[in-house]
C-alpha cells in the first residue's frame, strides 16, 4: 500500500540519491581546483579542463534537478531556505554562473579577460561550490534561524510565511564550526574525487604522478574533517519529531538514527570502505586507474546515509533553532499526496535517464584523453 507517509519517505530517498550523485559529480569541481596545483604546464592544464569540461553539464544539471526535485517534493524547504539563507545560495549560484561560461570562453579568441582569468573562475568554483554547499548542508544538523507561520497569509499587509530571524541571511552558518567542517569535508572529498577521475580519464604519466600527490593530500584532509564531523555528529543533540509532530531535542539523536537504522549505518560504512579502497589502490599501485569507480558508489552511498539520518526516523531535517516548532520535517514541508504520487510516477523514468547517460559516458570515454586529441578542433 503506497501511503502518504511512504511517498514522503520515497521522495526523501530520491533527494538523498540526487544529493549523493551531486556530491560524486562534484569531481568536476574538485578536478578544477587542481588546474593550477596539479597542472604544471599549459598542456596539462588543457588536459584537465578538457577532461572535466566534458562532464560539467551533468554536474550542473544534477544541481538544477536537485533544486527542482526539492521544490516539487518539499516546497517549504525551497521557500524557507532559499528565501531565508539568501546570501549563501546567491554565493553558490554566482560561482556556478562563472563556471558555466568559463569552459567555453577560456580558450577562445576575444574573451576580453584572458585565458587564465577564466581558469581562475573554474578553480574558484571548484573550491567554493563544494565548500558552500557542504556548509549549507551542515545546517541540516545544527539548525538555522527562521520562523514559519503559515497563518501569515491571512495578514494582508505582511503575508510572508517564512522569515529569517537575523539580518545575516545564511552567512551566520559559518559561525558554527560543524558547518564549516562539513563544508571543508565536502571540498576535500570533491578534490579527492577530482584527482581520481582525472587519473582515470587522462593518459599522461607526468600529470598522473602530480595527481596522485594531490590525491593523498586531499584525502588526508578529508579524513581529518570526516573524523571531526562524525565525532560532532554522533555526540550532538538532534531535532526529533514526536508522534504529534512536536519537535523536541534529543540527546545523541543522530547516533540513535544510525543505530536504529542499521541499513543506513551499513551504507555509510560500505561507502567509506569503497572510498578508502579506491583511494588506496590508486595511490599505491601505479597502474591502477579505476579508483574513481570504487569511490563513486562509495560516495553516493555515504552521502545518501547522511541525508537519511537527517530526515528519516522522525527527525526534523531543516531545524530552526530560533523557533523549534518551525523546524521542517518531511511531513510538514512536503507536497500534497496527489503531487507526490504524480511525481513518483514521473520518477520511474530516472533509471532510463541514468542508463543512457552511462551508455554515452562509456562511448565517449572508451579511450583516455591524450594530448594528441587536443590537437583536433573538437576541444575547449
Amino acid at each position: 500500500m503506497i501511503t502518504y507517509i511512504f511517498l514522503q519517505q520515497y521522495w526523501w530517498f530520491l533527494i538523498s540519491l540526487l544529493g549523493g550523485l551531486l556530491v560524486f559529480l562534484l569531481f568536476v569541481q574538485g578536478g578544477n581546483a587542481l588546474i593550477f596545483l596539479a597542472g604544471k604546464s599549459e598542456q596539462e592544464r588543457e588536459l584537465i579542463i578538457n577532461s572535466t569540461g566534458r562532464k560539467w553539464e551533468l554536474t550542473f544539471t544534477t544541481l538544477v534537478t536537485f533544486g527542482g526535485a526539492f521544490f516539487a517534493s518539499f516546497p517549504l524547504f525551497y521557500s524557507t531556505s532559499f528565501g531565508g539563507a539568501y546570501w549563501v545560495w546567491m554565493l553558490i549560484l554566482v560561482t556556478f554562473v562563472f563556471q558555466a561560461v568559463s569552459y567555453e570562453f577560456q580558450g577562445k579568441v576575444g574573451n576580453l579577460l584572458g585565458r587564465n582569468t577564466f581558469r581562475v573562475f573554474l578553480t574558484l568554483n571548484g573550491c567554493l561550490a563544494p565548500l558552500l554547499i557542504g556548509t549549507a548542508v551542515g545546517t541540516f544538523f545544527t539548525g538555522s534561524q527562521f520562523v514559519v507561520d503559515k497563518a501569515a497569509v491571512g495578514n494582508i499587509a505582511a503575508p510572508v510565511i517564512s522569515r529569517w530571524a537575523n539580518g545575516w541571511h545564511g552567512l551566520e552558518a559559518v559561525a558554527e564550526p560543524f558547518n564549516v567542517g562539513f563544508g571543508m569535508m565536502v571540498m576535500a572529498l570533491s578534490i579527492t574525487l577530482g584527482a581520481l577521475y582525472l587519473i582515470n580519464n587522462i593518459d599522461n604519466d607526468k600529470l598522473a604522478s602530480e595527481l596522485r600527490r594531490s590525491l593523498l593530500v586531499s584525502f588526508v584532509g578529508f579524513l581529518l574533517m570526516l573524523v571531526f564531523v562524525l565525532f560532532k555528529l554522533l555526540t550532538m543533540d538532534g531535532f526529533a519529531v514526536d508522534a504529534n509532530g512536536i519537535i523536541v531535542m534529543e540527546k545523541y539523536k543522530y547516533l540513535h538514527n544510525f543505530l536504529q537504522m542499521p541499513v543506513v549505518l551499513a551504507m555509510l560504512l560500505v561507502g567509506a570502505v569503497l572510498l578508502v579502497v579506491g583511494v588506496a589502490l590508486t595511490a599505491w599501485r601505479k597502474n591502477f586507474k579505476r579508483g574513481i569507480w570504487l569511490a563513486a558508489p562509495g560516495t553516493v552511498m555515504a552521502v545518501m546515509a547522511i541525508f537519511m539520518i537527517a530526515g528519516y526516523n522522525n527527525t526534523a531535517y531543516y531545524p530552526s533553532i530560533n523557533d523549534l516548532q518551525s523546524s521542517l520535517t518531511l511531513a510538514n514541508s512536503c507536497s500534497s499526496e496527489f503531487t507526490l504520487r504524480t511525481m513518483s510516477i514521473v520518477s520511474l523514468i530516472i533509471p532510463f535517464v541514468v542508463a543512457y547517460i552511462a551508455y554515452f559516458w562509456r562511448q565517449m570515454d572508451r579511450k583516455s584523453l591524450t594530448t594528441e586529441e587536443l590537437n583536433t578542433s573538437d576541444k575547449y
Binding site: F60, G83, K108, D378
Partner: protein, 495 residues
C-alpha cells in the same frame, strides 16, 4: 509590512534575469534545428562541405549555449530566493514541471551536447546525428515544461486551495499539462526561436556575401535558415492567433492594455498606432467573431454584462470578495481547533469567495491596470517586426532561388541589420506576456506583492547589480567571441 521597493526590486531582478535568459535561449532553439538539418544533409549526401557548415554553426551555438545555462540556473533559484511566499503558496503545483524539466530535458541536453561537440571521432556518423537532434529536442522539451509552469501562472487550472496547508494543491496533472495557454505559448515561443536562429544565420551569411567570402557556405546556410525561419514564422503567427483568443478569455486586462482599449464592446477596433484604428478587427482577433464582445479597461474595473448575459463583477466587488476570503481563511485557522461548527462556516465563506482570494491583497482598483503604454507599444513592436522579418526572409529566399542574392548588396545589408531586430521582437513578446499580467504573479490568485521573500531591499538591490554586471559582462564577451569566430569563418576548403 511588505515594502513597495522590495516588491519592485524583486520584480526587476527577475525581469532582468528573464530578459537576459531570453537573449540566449531563442538562438539555442533555432540554431539547433538549423545545424541538425545541415548535419542530416551531410549524413544523407556524404558531402564533407555540409559537415563543416554544420560544425561552424555548432561552434556559435556552443558559445551561446553556455550563457543560456548560466542565466537559467539563476531564474530557477530566484523563485525560492526572491519569491519564497510564492514557492510555498503554489509550490505544490509549480515545482512539478520544474523537476520534470530537469529529469526529462536537461539531462538529455547535457549528455548529447557533449556527444555533439566531442564525439565526432568517438561515435558513428548516425549516432552523432541523433545526438545533434536530441540536443535540440532536449532544448524544446525544456521549453515545454517551463512554459507549462509559466502558463499555469497566466491561467491557473487543475488545483484547489487547501486552508489547512495554506496553499494551492494540484488535483489534476493533465489539466496543467494540457492547459490551452501552455500549448499555444509553447509553439509561440519555440517557433519564435526558429525565427531568431534563422535571422541570425541569414544575417551572418549575408555578412560573408558582403565581404565576398565563403560564398557557397553562405548561400547554402541561407537556404536552410530561410526555410526553417519561414516555417517558424507561420507557426508563430498561428499560435499567436490562438494566444490572442486565450488572453481575451483568461486575461482580458492584458488584452485591453495591449490595445490601449479604455472602453470596449462589440465590434471592437484594432489600434494600429494611437489614432489609427480598424473597426471590428480586435473582436475578430480576440473572439474570432466580428460581433464578439471585448471589454476595455474601464469595463473591467467597473464591471460589465456580456451580450450573452454573463455578469462580470467590478474590481471593487472582487476586492471585497477577496477580503472576505482572506478574513474567512483567518477565522478558519483560528477556529478549526476549538469550534468545528464555526470553522465549517468560515470554510464555507472561504470556498464561496476563494476565486477572488488574490484580490484581497489589492489596495485600490488602479493597481489592477498594468502599465498600458509599455504593453501597448511592446505588442506593436512584436507584431510589426515579426511581419517585417517574415517579408525579409521570403525576399531573401526568393532572391536566392533566382540566383541573384549574391549581387543584391542592399538586401544583404538589410538581413545583417535585422539581427538585433529579431531580438527586440522576442523581448517585446515577453514584455507583453509578463508586464501585461501585472499585478499578478498568478492570475487572480496571488499578486506579486504577496509573493516576495522577506529580505531587505538593500540585499535585492545588491544582487540585482551583481547580476546585471555579470550578465552584461558575459554578453559583451559572448559578442566579442562570436564576432571573432565569424571573422575567422568556417573551416571549409574549396568553397
Amino acid at each position: 509590512m511588505v515594502e513597495t521597493a522590495l516588491v519592485d526590486w524583486s520584480r526587476l531582478q527577475f525581469a532582468m534575469t528573464a530578459g537576459y535568459h531570453w537573449l540566449f535561449v531563442p538562438l539555442t532553439l533555432g540554431l539547433a534545428v538549423i545545424m541538425a538539418v545541415m548535419e542530416t544533409i551531410y549524413v544523407v549526401k556524404g558531402d564533407e562541405f555540409w559537415k563543416q557548415t554544420a560544425k561552424f554553426w555548432m561552434k556559435l551555438f556552443g558559445i551561446n549555449f553556455a550563457v543560456g545555462i548560466a542565466t537559467g540556473i539563476i531564474l530557477e533559484f530566484e523563485f525560492g530566493t526572491n519569491f519564497s511566499n510564492y514557492s510555498w503558496f503554489v509550490g505544490d503545483i509549480f515545482g512539478a514541471p520544474l523537476a520534470i524539466e530537469g529529469i526529462l530535458a536537461f539531462f538529455m541536453e547535457a549528455t548529447f551536447f557533449a556527444v555533439m561537440f566531442f564525439g565526432w571521432e568517438k561515435v558513428s556518423k548516425r549516432t552523432h546525428l541523433v545526438a545533434t537532434w536530441l540536443t535540440g529536442i532536449g532544448a524544446a522539451i525544456s521549453a515545454i515544461w517551463i512554459l507549462v509552469a509559466n502558463s499555469w501562472m497566466q491561467h491557473p487550472v487543475g488545483m484547489e486551495f487547501n486552508p489547512d496547508t495554506v496553499r494551492h494543491e494540484m488535483v489534476d496533472f493533465w489539466a496543467l499539462v494540457l492547459n490551452p495557454v501552455a500549448i499555444s505559448k509553447f509553439f509561440h515561443s519555440v517557433f519564435s526561436g526558429w525565427m531568431t536562429g534563422s535571422i541570425f544565420a541569414i544575417g551572418i551569411s549575408c555578412w560573408y556575401l558582403i565581404k565576398k567570402r565563403e560564398v557557397r557556405f553562405a548561400l547554402a546556410s541561407i537556404r536552410v535558415a530561410a526555410i526553417v525561419g519561414i516555417v517558424g514564422t507561420f507557426a508563430v503567427m498561428l499560435s499567436g492567433d490562438s494566444s490572442a483568443v486565450h488572453v481575451a478569455e483568461y486575461q482580458p486586462m492584458k488584452l485591453a492594455a495591449a490595445e490601449g482599449l479604455e472602453n470596449g464592446g462589440q465590434r471592437a477596433p484594432f489600434s494600429i498606432v494611437p489614432g489609427v484604428e480598424v473597426p471590428g478587427v480586435l473582436s475578430v482577433l480576440a473572439t474570432h467573431d466580428i460581433n464578439g464582445y471585448v471589454p476595455g479597461i474601464n469595463n473591467l474595473l467597473n464591471g460589465y454584462t456580456t451580450p450573452q448575459g454573463e455578469v462580470v463583477p467590478s474590481a471593487e466587488e472582487k476586492i471585497e470578495r477577496g477580503r472576505l476570503a482572506i478574513e474567512a481563511f483567518g477565522d478558519y485557522r483560528k477556529l478549526s481547533g476549538s469550534d468545528p461548527a464555526a470553522a465549517a462556516e468560515a470554510r464555507k465563506v472561504l470556498d464561496e469567495n476563494v476565486e477572488y482570494f488574490g484580490y484581497g491583497y489589492i489596495d485600490s482598483k488602479q493597481e489592477l491596470v498594468p502599465p498600458v503604454w509599455l504593453v501597448y507599444w511592446a505588442f506593436r513592436v512584436m507584431i510589426g517586426l515579426g511581419g517585417a522579418l517574415l517579408l525579409l526572409m521570403c525576399v531573401v529566399l526568393w532572391a536566392e532561388y533566382k540566383k541573384s542574392l549574391a549581387s543584391m548588396t542592399w538586401l544583404q545589408w538589410a538581413a545583417l541589420l535585422s539581427i538585433p531586430l529579431v531580438y527586440v521582437a522576442g523581448q517585446a513578446g515577453w514584455i507583453v506576456a509578463e508586464v501585461g499580467r501585472q499585478p499578478w504573479v498568478i492570475e487572480g490568485l496571488l499578486p506579486v506583492k504577496a509573493a516576495v521573500s522577506s529580505v531587505s531591499v538593500a540585499a535585492v538591490q545588491t544582487t540585482f547589480f551583481i547580476f546585471v554586471a555579470i550578465f552584461t559582462l558575459f554578453l559583451a564577451i559572448e559578442l566579442r567571441i562570436l564576432i571573432n569566430a565569424i571573422k575567422k569563418g568556417p573551416e571549409i576548403e574549396n568553397y
